[in-house]
C-alpha cells in the first residue's frame, strides 16, 4: 500500500500539496487501490511519520517538499526494503527516488506569454517567503519575459518572512495593486494562499494573472492568462503506479517530460493568441533541444537577467 505525506502547508494548500493529493486521488480512482496519507503538524514529526509509515509496511512512501530531505537522508538507510519518493529535493540514497521539477522552464514559458500579453511592457512577480525555491520561479519567469521584451520591466515582491507570508491574501492583493499601479498588467503569483489574493486583485483590476503549481485558470476565467502547472500529481501518480518497484535515482520532470507546463484550457483559450501559442511551441522545442538554456537559480544563487 503506498503512502503520501504532505508538508506543513496541508493538502489543500491550493498549491503543490494539493496537486500531490490530486495525483493520489486520481490513482485511487483509476486503480481502485487505497493509500495512506498524513499531514505534518510540526517539524519534529517528520521523522516520526516516516518511520511509522515504513514500519506499517507502506511502500512506496512519497513526500512533498524539500523540508523532508534532511530527515529522509537519515531514515532511508534504516528501511532498505522500503522505497521512498521525495518531491522538490535530491536525496542520494539507493532506495529513494528524487523528483525535481524544472520550474524555471515552465516559468520561462509563462514569462513569454506574459511579455506577449503585456501592453505596458511591465509585468509583476509576487512570491511568498523570500526563499531560494521561489527565486527559481522568479528567475525563469524573468528570463522568458526578457527573451521577448529585453527592455521590459519585471516588478518583484515577496510577501513576508513569517509563515504568515503564505496565508495573507490581503497583503497579496495590496502587492498586486502596487504592481498594477506601477504599470504591471500581468502578474505571476507564486505564494500559496497569498496568491489567491493576488489573482483576485489582478482580476478586480482588469489585468491578467498567472497561477502556479495547480491549474488555477478556473479561479477567474478571462482574467487568468495561464497557470504554470507543476505536475506533482503526475509524479505521485507514477510513483504510486510503480509501487514497490519505484526506481531510485533522480527523476527530472522537465518540459520534455511534461513535468511542467503552461495550462491552456477553456478558461483562458481566448487570451492565448496564435502568435503566443507559436512562441510557446517554439520555446518548448528550443529548450528541449538545448538551443535555449533556461538558467536555474538554484545552481549558483544568481539570475542572469534582472
Amino acid at each position: 500500500e503506498p503512502a503520501l505525506i504532505f508538508d506543513l502547508g496541508g493538502k489543500f494548500d491550493k498549491s503543490f500539496n494539493e496537486a500531490a493529493n490530486n495525483g493520489a486521488v486520481r490513482w485511487a480512482e483509476e486503480t481502485g487501490g487505497s493509500y495512506k496519507e498524513l499531514e505534518m503538524q510540526s517539524e519534529a514529526q517528520r521523522e516520526q511519520a516516516l518511520r511509522r509509515l515504513a514500519e506499517t509496511g507502506a511502500n512506496p512512501i512519497i513526500m512533498t517538499g524539500f523540508a523532508f530531505g534532511d530527515v529522509l537522508n537519515k531514515v532511508a538507510p534504516d528501511y532498505p526494503d522500503t522505497k521512498f519518493g521525495i518531491i522538490d529535493m535530491v536525496v542520494e540514497q539507493p532506495n529513494v527516488q528524487s523528483v525535481v521539477f524544472t520550474e524555471e522552464q515552465g516559468s520561462y514559458l509563462a514569462g513569454i506569454m506574459a511579455a506577449m500579453a503585456s501592453e505596458t511592457d511591465t509585468v509583476g512577480f509576487i512570491g511568498g517567503m523570500d526563499i531560494p525555491l521561489i527565486h527559481k520561479f522568479e528567475c525563469g519567469f524573468a528570463q522568458g519575459f526578457k527573451s521577448v521584451k529585453p527592455e521590459g520591466n519585471v516588478l518583484i515582491n515577496y510577501t513576508g518572512t513569517t509563515p504568515a507570508a503564505w496565508n495573507d491574501p490581503v497583503k497579496g492583493g495590496e502587492l498586486a495593486k502596487a504592481q498594477i499601479s506601477q504599470g504591471a498588467d500581468v502578474v505571476y503569483a507564486a505564494a500559496g494562499g497569498t496568491g489567491i489574493g493576488v489573482l483576485q486583485a489582478v482580476a478586480d483590476g482588469g489585468k491578467l494573472g498567472v497561477g502556479v503549481d495547480s491549474n488555477q485558470n478556473h479561479l477567474h476565467p478571462g482574467s487568468m492568462l495561464t497557470s504554470m502547472v507543476k505536475r506533482v500529481d503526475n509524479a505521485v501518480f507514477d510513483a504510486f503506479t510503480a509501487g514497490a518497484d519505484l526506481e531510485a535515482g533522480v527523476k527530472v520532470m522537465d518540459l520534455k517530460a511534461d513535468g511542467v507546463a503552461v495550462a491552456i484550457d477553456d478558461d483562458n483559450k481566448d487570451l492565448v493568441t496564435a502568435e503566443m501559442q507559436t512562441a510557446i511551441d517554439e520555446a518548448t522545442a528550443q529548450i528541449a533541444d538545448g538551443s535555449v538554456a533556461v538558467h536555474d537559480y538554484m545552481t549558483d544563487n544568481t539570475c542572469p537577467v534582472q
Binding site: E39, Q48, M298, T299
Partner: protein
C-alpha cells in the same frame, strides 16, 4: 484564613477545569462527526501509551518548559514578555553559529558552548526591548511583538543568504557536525540495557530543562535577585524605596527571560533537527505564555503545564496523523484547556469554595 484547603485549590480546581475542557472538546469532536472516545484513546495511546509516545511528549514538554519559564521570570518582574518566539528563534541562531563554527570533538564540550550561544542571543534579543522600556518607557508588549517579526526577518535573511549550503533548496543551515549531536534519552536507555523511546527526539536537554525549573525556583524564591525581581514586580514605588533599581531589574529579568527562551534551541535545534531551519520555534514562544500563566508562574506549575501541552501536542499530532480528524482540532482542544484551566478557573473555584465553607460551618456547629 483561606476559604478552602490548599490541596483543593491546587489540585481539585485544575482537575475539574481540565475535565470540563475535555467534555467540551468531546462535544466539538461530536459536532464534526467523529468519535470522542476514539479521539481520546488515540491521543492518550499516542502520547502516553508507549515509550515512543512519551519520547515525543517529553520532547515538546522540554520546549515548553523553557519558553514557559521565560515568560514566568519576566512576569514576576511585571513584564509581559510576548517575545519568546523571537528570542527562541534567535537562540536557535546562536546555537547554530556555535555548532557550525568549530568541528566540535564531543558533545559534552559543544553543549555548554551552544547553551551560552543560545542564551546569549536570546538574551540579546530581549535586551533591547528591556532597555527601551526601562530607559525610554517604550511599552515592552509592543516592542517584544515587533522583535518577533524582526527576528523572523533576520533569520530568513541569515538562513537564505549566509548559512544555507550553496545549491540547497532548503532555507536551512548545514547539518551540525557529528560532535555536536546530543545523546538522546533512547541512547541513555540503551546504556542501561533497555530499549526506551527509540527514534524519539527527546534528549538530555530534558534534564537541563528540569534543572532549569529548579534553578529558576531557587532564583525567584531563594536568592536576593529573585526577591528584588518579585518586589519590583509587585510595586515599583516599593522597589525604589527599598533601593532596588527599576532599570537594573527590568534589564536583568528580561535578560534571564530571553536567555531561557534562547536555551530552548538546545532542544529543538541542537537536539532534534541538528541544523537550523526557518520556522524552528513553531509557536512554542506563544505556548510559553499559556504555560506560564496556567502554571501560576511557579516552576513546578510550569513543568506540569508544559507536560500537559506536550501531551496535547503529541497526542494531537497522532490524532492528525492516524485518524481523519483534522489537526486543527488540537488547537481547539488547547484553546479550551487554556480557557478552562487558566481563565475560567473561578467558575470551578467559586462553587468549590462555597461547598468547603458550608462544610466548615457544619463542622463548627
Amino acid at each position: 484564613m483561606d476559604k478552602m484547603p490548599k490541596w483543593a485549590d491546587v489540585i481539585l480546581t485544575p482537575l475539574i477545569s481540565l475535565f470540563l475542557a475535555m467534555a467540551i472538546s468531546a462535544l466539538v469532536i461530536l459536532a464534526i462527526g467523529e468519535s470522542p472516545w476514539v479521539a481520546l484513546t488515540t491521543m492518550v495511546e499516542g502520547a502516553l501509551g508507549s515509550s515512543y509516545g512519551w519520547g515525543y511528549t517529553l520532547y515538546y514538554t522540554t520546549n515548553f518548559i523553557f519558553t514557559g519559564l521565560a515568560v514566568m521570570v519576566a512576569y514576576h518582574a511585571a513584564l509581559f514578555n510576548i517575545g519568546g518566539e523571537g528570542q527562541a528563534a534567535m537562540g536557535g541562531l546562536g546555537v547554530a553559529l556555535v555548532c557550525l563554527a568549530f568541528p566540535w570533538p564531543h558533545w559534552a564540550l559543544a553543549l555548554p558552548a551552544a547553551m551560552i550561544g543560545g542564551a546569549l542571543l536570546g538574551a540579546a534579543w530581549a535586551f533591547i526591548p528591556a532597555w527601551l522600556q526601562a530607559k525610554r518607557g517604550s511599552h515592552i508588549v509592543i516592542t517584544t511583538i515587533m522583535f518577533n517579526f524582526i527576528a523572523a526577518a533576520v533569520l530568513n535573511y541569515v538562513l537564505v543568504n549566509m548559512l544555507r549550503p550553496v545549491g540547497s533548496m532548503d532555507p536551512a543551515s548545514a547539518r551540525f557536525p557529528e560532535g555536536t549531536h546530543l545523546p538522546k534519552l533512547s541512547d541513555i536507555a540503551t546504556i542501561f540495557g533497555t530499549e526506551w523511546g527509540k527514534n524519539t527526539p527527546v534528549n538530555i536537554t530534558f534534564f537541563i530543562a528540569i534543572a532549569a525549573c529548579f534553578l529558576v525556583w531557587l532564583l525567584i524564591w531563594r536568592t536576593r535577585l529573585g526577591y528584588e525581581i518579585r518586589a519590583f514586580g509587585k510595586s515599583e514605588p516599593g522597589a525604589m524605596y527599598a533601593g532596588i533599581s527599576p532599570v537594573r531589574i527590568t534589564v536583568i529579568a528580561m535578560l534571564i527571560s530571553g536567555g531561557l527562551a534562547g536555551l530552548m534551541a538546545i532542544n529543538n535545534v541542537m537536539g532534534e533537527s541538528e541544523r537550523l531551519v526557518l520556522n524552528a520555534v513553531e509557536g512554542a514562544g506563544f505556548i510559553g505564555i499559556a504555560v506560564a500563566l496556567m502554571g501560576r508562574n511557579h516552576p513546578f506549575g510550569v513543568f506540569l503545564a508544559a507536560l500537559l501541552f506536550g501531551f496535547l501536542y503529541q497526542g494531537g499530532g497522532e490524532l492528525a496523523l492516524w485518524t481523519s480528524i483534522p489537526r486543527e482540532l488540537i488547537i481547539v482542544i488547547q484553546a479550551l484547556v487554556i480557557l478552562f484551566t487558566g481563565a475560567l478557573d473561578n467558575m470551578v473555584r467559586m462553587p468549590l469554595e462555597r461547598i468547603f465553607m458550608a462544610l466548615r460551618k457544619r463542622e463548627d456547629v
